[in-house]
Assembly symmetry: C2
Homo-oligomer: 238 residues x 2
């Protein structure tokens, strides 16, 4: 066991940052191999250790291996994606159509992480001013899951081109439960060395220094050491 | 450099999971020591490497060390917290009042992570069906930051008891920019070995197995190996 208050060793930090920088949004490259129970349990446990407003833990985990359920969800995706594609024209339309945007049927397992908006009763500590803190907390669980999956060599893709009402109906969710994230998971033939949308020329990573402000919107950093450090770290990771 | 597709070593995985399990929502225990620029840069870079819908990268990072700005934000907190406290009575009210819920002035640095809802133009890939995917993406950046901070020995606390309109005004945010997460950061005298709200008897961690469903809401897992693995992993981490 680690002493909770001992500093992380360089090796521990390297392992952590490796998950951060090598995590990808996976749509292709899924292998059919099943995820062993101990591995899947570690991923779910990592998600369950996300922070949540008032320790609300509003999440549930819907594991979906049924091909019938996945076909229904895939049908929702196809209908929504037709609508989405209609927003583009010309070269952009052709690029959009060339992109693979989900792996619902090829991945061996889907997972819907939901948010129960009534969990913890009427007054959840810290959720008085910002009612959507429960949704935000559930997102933090999604990211814990996503990173843990990468550390275990498992790819994850978030399918956001779905009608949430139709998805809720397929999964039989109670009215108070929102299907926040629909994920495809599985071992992969490879993790790309940079995000697929960058590789395909859809959109590039923004310069980090452009996104950092000092004490208010648009106020530049007046700290040369920090500016230099930001430039240096940004150069290390594409 | 790591080969992107090599499995994580046990040491790398241990470092990763240590950040997941030892991360805390810190309100007390902040030390005044400044965060060195290279460390702060690594945290911001980790946040910037979160996944985002359509590679939108809707986040900006407002670093706040000005005591004047922090005092204004603290004023917003005090007013919102009065309203929140009025939801409780009796013993629960007394417990609520005994909890420290922010470290705005004691921590050496505050950080507001915002979401620019117009970034990437009118049609962001993958944001056609669920318009809030930009907010959800920004949450993933928050969690990357939070975990990276833990790996660097830095505590983070999310202050959610704030009026977002007032906060936006203090920070001079444009109308399209939402102040998603207001964080306090700094080195700490200690990381607690379990969440403060659990330690103080406010609310306990839910059993993981109660939260996992199979192919639809409320359908139990029929997989004894997975059930056993979930029990085992849950016993390891409080």
């Amino acid at each position: 066991m680690n002493d909770t208050n001992a500093p992380f060793s360089e090796q521990e930090k390297d392992g952590f940052y490796r998950a951060i920088h090598e995590r990808r949004d996976v749509r292709s490259h899924f292998l059919p191999d099943p995820i062993p129970s101990p591995v899947l349990s570690r991923l779910l446990d990592a998600a369950h250790h996300a922070p949540s407003v008032g320790f609300m833990q509003p999440w549930d985990f819907m594991l979906i291996d049924s091909l019938d359920v996945r076909r229904q969800v895939h049908g929702i995706f196809l209908r929504e994606n037709e609508k989405a594609a209609a927003n583009y024209s010309g070269e952009r339309f052709r690029t959009y159509r060339s992109l693979k945007l989900e792996g619902i049927l090829e991945s061996p397992m889907n997972l819907c992480i939901t948010c129960d908006r009534t969990r913890g009763g009427d007054h959840v500590l810290g959720r008085n001013s910002i009612i959507d803190m429960d949704l935000f907390s559930t997102c933090l669980a999604v990211q814990n899951f996503w990173l843990a999956a990468r550390a275990e060599g498992i790819g994850v893709g978030w399918v956001s081109i779905l009608d949430q009402d139709e998805l809720a109906e397929v999964l039989g969710l109670p009215e108070s439960v929102y299907p926040l994230a629909y994920l495809c998971l599985g071992y992969v033939s490879e993790f790309l060395d940079r995000p697929e949308l960058a590789g395909k020329g859809w959109r590039q990573r923004l310069p980090l220094t452009d996104l950092v402000h000092s004490n208010g919107w648009g106020r530049p950093l007046n700290d040369p050491a920090l500016l230099q450090a930001l430039d240096e770290v940004a150069e290390t990771h594409s």
